[in-house]
C-alpha cells in the first residue's frame, strides 16, 4: 500500500454541497445530496459505492464534463471545467474503455495533447511520447500500431500514457483494472504505484476491484445514501458499521480479498 500523505497537504479537488439531480420518468432522481469531499495532493482516493450511486458522474463532474445541479466543484483552485485549453496539463483521465482515437497510431494518440499546443518541435514531442509509452511498460515496437491491433490491457496502458503525457498533477481513473486478467491487473497496479511515487500524482479512482482498491488506495470514500458516508483510511472504512460497507467489504468476495492481502489482519469481530 502507498503511504498516506500528511493531512496538511494542499487541496487538489474540493467538492462542496454538491447536488446532482437527473430528470427521470417519475419526477426527479436525486443522485447526490449535499455531497462534500476534499482530495489532497499525493492521495490515492478510491470512490466506492453500489451501482447507480453516481461514482462515474462524480468523476465527470470533476472533469467538468457534467455540471452539478447545485454546489461547487473546485479543481486545482479553479471551478471544474474552466481549465480547458491547458486541461491536459492539469488533469489526466483514463476512460473505462481507453477512448483511444482509432484513426491515429499509438504514438500519435499519446502525442496528441502535446501536438495540440502547436508550439513544441516534432522531435521533442515524439521522444516524450516514446518515453511515456515505455514508462507504461510497452516497447517502442508498439508505437506504429493502430489501437484496433491492441489487446485490452495494452489499450489501458496506452490510454494511461496519453493521460500522463503532460505530467498532470491530478489523474482520474475510471475502472482502471476492469476487464484485465489478474496478471495484467497486478502489473497495472504496480505501474500506477511506481508512477504515483515518481510523479507525485494525486489519483482519484473508481473501482469495484477490491484487490486494486486495497493495493493502491490511501483513502477510500464510500458513496451511499446520496452522499459520502465515510472517507478515511481503508482500515477505518471497513470498521464502519454502515450496512452497505459491511456488505461490500465483508461479504464473501471482500473477505477473501482482504485475507489474501492482510493475512489474519481482519479483526475477529468482523469475521
Amino acid at each position: 500500500m502507498i503511504d498516506a500523505p500528511d493531512a496538511h497537504a494542499p487541496t487538489v479537488v474540493d467538492i462542496r454541497k454538491l447536488w446532482t439531480v437527473f430528470p427521470s420518468s417519475r419526477g426527479e432522481q436525486v443522485v447526490h445530496r449535499d455531497l462534500d469531499l476534499t482530495i489532497r495532493r499525493g492521495e490515492v482516493l478510491s470512490l466506492v459505492g453500489g451501482s447507480g450511486t453516481g461514482k462515474t458522474v462524480l468523476l465527470r463532474q470533476i472533469l467538468g464534463l457534467e455540471h452539478p445541479s447545485r454546489g461547487d466543484v473546485t479543481v486545482l483552485g479553479q471551478p471544474a471545467g474552466q481549465l480547458s485549453g491547458r486541461a491536459a496539463a492539469s488533469v489526466g483521465m483514463l476512460f473505462q474503455h481507453g477512448a483511444l482515437f482509432s484513426a491515429f497510431s499509438v504514438l500519435d494518440n499519446i502525442a496528441l495533447p502535446l501536438r495540440e499546443l502547436k508550439l513544441l518541435p516534432e522531435a521533442l514531442i515524439r521522444d516524450a511520447a516514446l518515453v511515456k509509452l515505455q514508462m507504461v511498460g510497452l516497447g517502442p515496437g508498439h508505437a506504429n500500431k493502430s489501437p484496433a491491433d491492441l489487446s485490452g490491457g495494452m489499450i489501458k496502458r496506452v490510454a494511461l500514457a496519453r493521460a500522463l503525457i503532460m505530467d498532470p498533477p491530478l489523474l482520474l481513473l475510471d475502472e482502471p483494472t476492469a476487464g484485465l486478467d489478474p496478471e495484467s491487473a497486478d502489473g497495472f497496479c504496480t505501474l500506477l504505484r511506481t508512477l504515483h511515487r515518481e510523479l507525485g500524482l494525486t489519483v482519484v479512482m473508481v473501482t469495484h476491484d477490491l484487490d486494486t482498491l486495497f493495493d493502491l488506495s490511501t483513502r477510500i470514500a464510500v458513496l451511499a445514501d446520496q452522499k459520502v458516508v465515510v472517507a478515511g483510511l481503508p482500515r477505518e472504512v471497513i470498521a464502519n458499521p454502515h450496512p452497505f460497507i459491511q456488505q461490500y467489504f465483508l461479504g464473501g468476495r471482500g473477505r477473501r480479498a482482504m485475507e489474501a492481502l492482510h493475512g489474519d489482519d481482519v479483526p475477529d469481530s468482523q469475521r
Binding site: 493531512a7 496538511h8 494542499p10 487541496t11 487538489v12 462534500d36 469531499l37 476534499t38 489532497r40 495532493r41 473546485t74 486545482l76 483552485g77 479553479q78 481549465l83 491547458r86 496539463a89 492539469s90 482515437f101 482509432s102 484513426a103 504514438l107 502535446l114 499546443l117 508550439l119 513544441l120 522531435a123 521533442l124 515524439r126 521522444d127 516524450a128 516514446l130 518515453v131 511515456k132 515505455q134 514508462m135 517502442p140 515496437g141 508505437a143 506504429n144 493502430s146 484496433a148 503525457i165 503532460m166 505530467d167 498533477p169 515518481e198 510523479l199 483513502r219 452522499k227 458516508v229 465515510v230 472517507a231 478515511g232 477505518e236 472504512v237 470498521a239 464502519n240 454502515h242 460497507i245
Partner: protein, 394 residues
C-alpha cells in the same frame, strides 16, 4: 451523517488552514554566467511550455547557447521539472550527460528516467517484391470479392423472403413497420420541397423555349412525361440514398462497433432475417410511394409555374395530363422505384456489415454506401430507359 468513522476523516473541518494546489507556472529561463556555465531556472513543465510566450523565449535562448560539450550546467534553481522539460534538456544535450551538471536529486531522477528509454521508432522494412505481388493480386480480386459478397447478400435476402412467405406470422413485423415509418413517412416533407422546386425550375426553363415555337400547350407533355417517368423516381432515389442509405450503413456499422451484431449471432438471431430483410422490404414499399409523391409535388410546382409564365390554367393542365402521359408510365416509374429501393437498402446493409470496429471505417463505409447507391441508381435507371424504350409513349 449518521455513520461516522471512528477517527475524523482528514477533510473534516478541524483540519488546519487549508491550502489549495493551483495550476501556476513561472517562466522557464536560461542564463549564461560568463564563465562558460549555464544556469536554468523557473518551472520546466509542459504547463509552462504551453504558454507561447514562455516557450518562444526559452527556445530562442536555448538556440543561442553555444553547443559545446564542456558547458557546466547548473539546474539547481529549477523549481519544477517534469518529463517534457527533462526531455527538452536531454534533447538539447544530444541525448548524453554533459560533463558538469549540478541538480537536485528529484530532478536527477526525472532526467534519468528520460535518459533510460530508447527513443528510436523501429521502421518497418519496405515490402519485398513478392509481398507487392501478393498485394496486387489481392487488390485485383477486390472487385470480384465485392460482387460475390453482394450476390451472397442478395441471395440471402431472397431466401429470407422465402422463409417469410412460408411463415409470415414469425416475420420481424415490428422492425418492418418502424423502418417503413423512418424511411417513408419522415421523408415526405423534404422530398415534397425538392420536387416542388424542381418542377417550378423545369417549367420556367421550358416555357421560354416553347414560347419561341408557339407551342405553349406542349408544356403539359414535357413536364408530365419527364417528371413522372424520369425525374421523380431518380430525384426521390437520390434523396433517399443520401438520407436512408447512409442511416442504414451507420446503424448497422455502429452495431458492429458495439458488438451488437455478434450478440445477435450468438443468440441465434440471423442478421439477414432480422436486419437486412425488414430494411430492404420497407424501402421497396416506401420508395415507389415517395417517388409518386415527389412526382406529384413536382407536377404541382410545374402547374403553378406554367400558369404564371404561360397562362396555362391548372384545369387545362389537369385535363391534358392523362392524354399526354399514358398510365403505363406511372407503373414503370413505380416498378423502377421499387428496384431502386431494394438496391439502396442492400448497398446500405452491405457497407454496414463491412464496417470494422473503428470510427474511421464507419465514416468510410457511410461515404461508400451513399456514393455507390447513387451511382447504381443512375446506372439502373439508364438500363430501364433502354429496356423500356417502347413502353409508355404515344
Amino acid at each position: 451523517m449518521s455513520f461516522n468513522a471512528p477517527t475524523p476523516a482528514p477533510d473534516a473541518a478541524s483540519a488546519p488552514a487549508l491550502t489549495t494546489a493551483t495550476v501556476t507556472a513561472t517562466a522557464p529561463r536560461i542564463a549564461q554566467d560568463g564563465h562558460g556555465g549555464v544556469q536554468a531556472s523557473g518551472s520546466w513543465t509542459a504547463l509552462s511550455f504551453s504558454s507561447a510566450r514562455h516557450w518562444k523565449a526559452l527556445a530562442d535562448s536555448l538556440q543561442r547557447l553555444p553547443a559545446s560539450a564542456d558547458t557546466a550546467w547548473d539546474l539547481r534553481p529549477i523549481e519544477q521539472l517534469d518529463h517534457i522539460g527533462a526531455q527538452l534538456l536531454w534533447n538539447h544535450w544530444r541525448k548524453a550527460w554533459p560533463a558538469q551538471v549540478a541538480l537536485d536529486p528529484q530532478h536527477r531522477a526525472v532526467l534519468e528516467h528520460v535518459a533510460r528509454y530508447d527513443c528510436s521508432v523501429p521502421v518497418d522494412p519496405p515490402p519485398t517484391f513478392s509481398q507487392r505481388l501478393q498485394r496486387l493480386s489481392r487488390s485485383g480480386s477486390r472487385a470480384l470479392r465485392v460482387a460475390r459478397d453482394f450476390l451472397a447478400l442478395f441471395g440471402q435476402f431472397v431466401l429470407d423472403v422465402g422463409t417469410l412467405i412460408r411463415a409470415p406470422h414469425r416475420g420481424p413485423w415490428r422492425d418492418f413497420s418502424g423502418q417503413l415509418y423512418q424511411f417513408g413517412a419522415t421523408a415526405l416533407p423534404i422530398t415534397a420541397l425538392v420536387g416542388l422546386l424542381i418542377g417550378v425550375v423545369l417549367a420556367y426553363l421550358t416555357s421560354n423555349q416553347l414560347r419561341n415555337f408557339g407551342a405553349e400547350t406542349f408544356i403539359v407533355n414535357i413536364l408530365g412525361l419527364s417528371l413522372i417517368r424520369e425525374l421523380g423516381p431518380v430525384l426521390a432515389a437520390v434523396l433517399i440514398a443520401g438520407r436512408s442509405g447512409s442511416a442504414i450503413t451507420a446503424q448497422i456499422g455502429v452495431m458492429r462497433v458495439t458488438e451488437e451484431l455478434d450478440a445477435m449471432r450468438v443468440m441465434g438471431i440471423p442478421h439477414g432475417f432480422r436486419l437486412v430483410m425488414p430494411r430492404v422490404l420497407a424501402l421497396a414499399i416506401a420508395m415507389p410511394l415517395i417517388s409518386m409523391w415527389t412526382s406529384m409535388a413536382a407536377l404541382l410546382g410545374g402547374m403553378i409555374a406554367a400558369d404564371m409564365a404561360l397562362g396555362i390554367s391548372p384545369s387545362y393542365f389537369m385535363s391534358a395530363l392523362p392524354r399526354a402521359v399514358p398510365l403505363s408510365n406511372l407503373w414503370l416509374a413505380m416498378a423502377k422505384s421499387a428496384v431502386f429501393g431494394v438496391l439502396i437498402a442492400l448497398v446500405g446493409c452491405y457497407f454496414g456489415m463491412k464496417v470494422k470496429p473503428n470510427t474511421e471505417s464507419l465514416g468510410r463505409g457511410t461515404t461508400s454506401s451513399v456514393v455507390t447507391s447513387i451511382t447504381i441508381v443512375i446506372l439502373v435507371d439508364a438500363l430501364f430507359a433502354v429496356l423500356f424504350k417502347g413502353v409508355g409513349f404515344r
